[in-house]
């Protein structure tokens, strides 16, 4: 699967990530919200990563062949699980990101810890915010083009939205984005 980015979603650097894909129902809900934010608030930076997901870790690049082997093995032992969301949040500062907050359960922290130990060493230039103890699991709704001028619109659009979701997680994936293209490198069913 290969998708074109919008022009505003262009990245200067390539990035790869190990992510959890959402189920069909919540994938549709997130894509609906992306549509609302694009139509009503003019935000389309999120289309740079057009697969609703949350990331376990991110790097500039991975040893993809070895990652594939390890994920086949690791995912055979991890059972499907659920995550619970609660409201939306904003990473504030110079480059704000709007996201759906995930309440981290012991199960989720354990899965993250396990995936980190087994697969993160295969990454080059890992993003330190995804390290165990620093990780803040989230489903991105908008990034790159959130500003003080449109954040009011975003908040007004989302404040009455129901974000109390329980999302079944059955698959993880390796995704990458480079210039104007995003792609899913591999999908791994949780079979534990």
């Amino acid at each position: 699967m290969s998708l074109n980015f919008s022009k505003t979603g262009k990245y200067e650097h390539k990035v790869q990530a190990l992510v959890a894909l959402l189920d069909e129902d919540h994938t549709a809900k997130v894509i609906d919200i992306w549509g609302i934010l694009q139509q009503d608030c003019g935000l389309n930076g999120i289309s740079a990563t057009p697969f609703p997901h949350f990331s376990f870790h991110i790097a500039e690049s991975y040893d993809l062949a070895e990652l594939d082997i390890r994920l086949r093995d690791v995912c055979a032992a991890i059972p499907p699980f659920s995550v619970r969301t609660a409201g939306f949040s904003i990473f504030t500062g110079p480059e704000p990101t709007v996201y759906v907050s995930i309440a981290p359960s012991q199960t989720l922290l354990d899965v993250h810890q396990h995936l980190w130990q087994q697969t993160a060493p295969l990454g080059q230039q890992l993003n330190r915010y995804y390290r165990p103890g620093s990780w803040m699991p989230h489903i991105t709704l908008s990034n790159k083009d959130v500003t003080g001028d449109n954040i009011g619109c975003v908040s007004s659009q989302l404040v009455y939205h129901d974000f109390n979701w329980e999302i079944p997680i059955r698959r993880v994936a390796v995704i990458w984005q480079e210039d104007d293209v995003a792609d899913i490198e591999g999908i791994y069913d949780l079979q534990g």
């Binding site: 619970r84 609660a86 409201g87 939306f88 949040s89 904003i90 990473f91 504030t92 500062g93 110079p94 704000p96 907050s101 309440a103 981290p104 359960s105 012991q106 922290l109 165990p132 103890g133 620093s134 990780w135 803040m136 959130v146 500003t147 003080g148 954040i151 009011g152 619109c153 975003v154 908040s155 007004s156 989302l158 404040v159 009455y160 939205h161 129901d162 974000f163």
Partner: protein, 192 residues
Amino acid sequence: MTGQLPNTGWADLQVQALVALLDEQYTTRVKDIWSLLFVECGLNAVNIAPYPHFSFHGAERYDLQEMDARLTELTRTIPPFTIRTTGLGMFTGKNPVVFMPIRLDKTLLDIHQTLWARTSSLGLRLNEHYRPGMWVPHITLAIHDVTPENIDCVARKLIDRNLTWEIPILKVAMVCIEDGVADIEGVYPLQG
């Protein structure tokens, strides 16, 4: 130390909670944000409980005498710890809440689990949102008077701020709100 609810519409509120109090520096910083949101956006109902904090659990009421005995014993074994906030969050719906999300790491998860296991059974009509697995730890910035009309003001005032704070937690407390008046029932330094 007591606080009076400014909005008479909430004057019959009865709630009690086991909370972590912030240190002096971050108590001042949160109060500065409360003042900003009052002056710029007209929000002041957060002052019902004028002690910047995050809650471990809340209930309509607790067996306060037994709670005192258990907390006196428990806090001898829990060492002071540090929390990290990650930006700005909003619980959406009919009664929106604006807050600072707290990253839920293993230390905080374990402390919450211990406090829940040892003290939540002393509460009547517990708030289910604080149960392990559902808990989203947060420091409230605005509650009871957030509306679609003022939410954009809140977001615009805070979007550029650095809200990534590391806050030392040195004590927990029982906070009681009765007929719109808040009071700290007991303070327990962490001595583990």
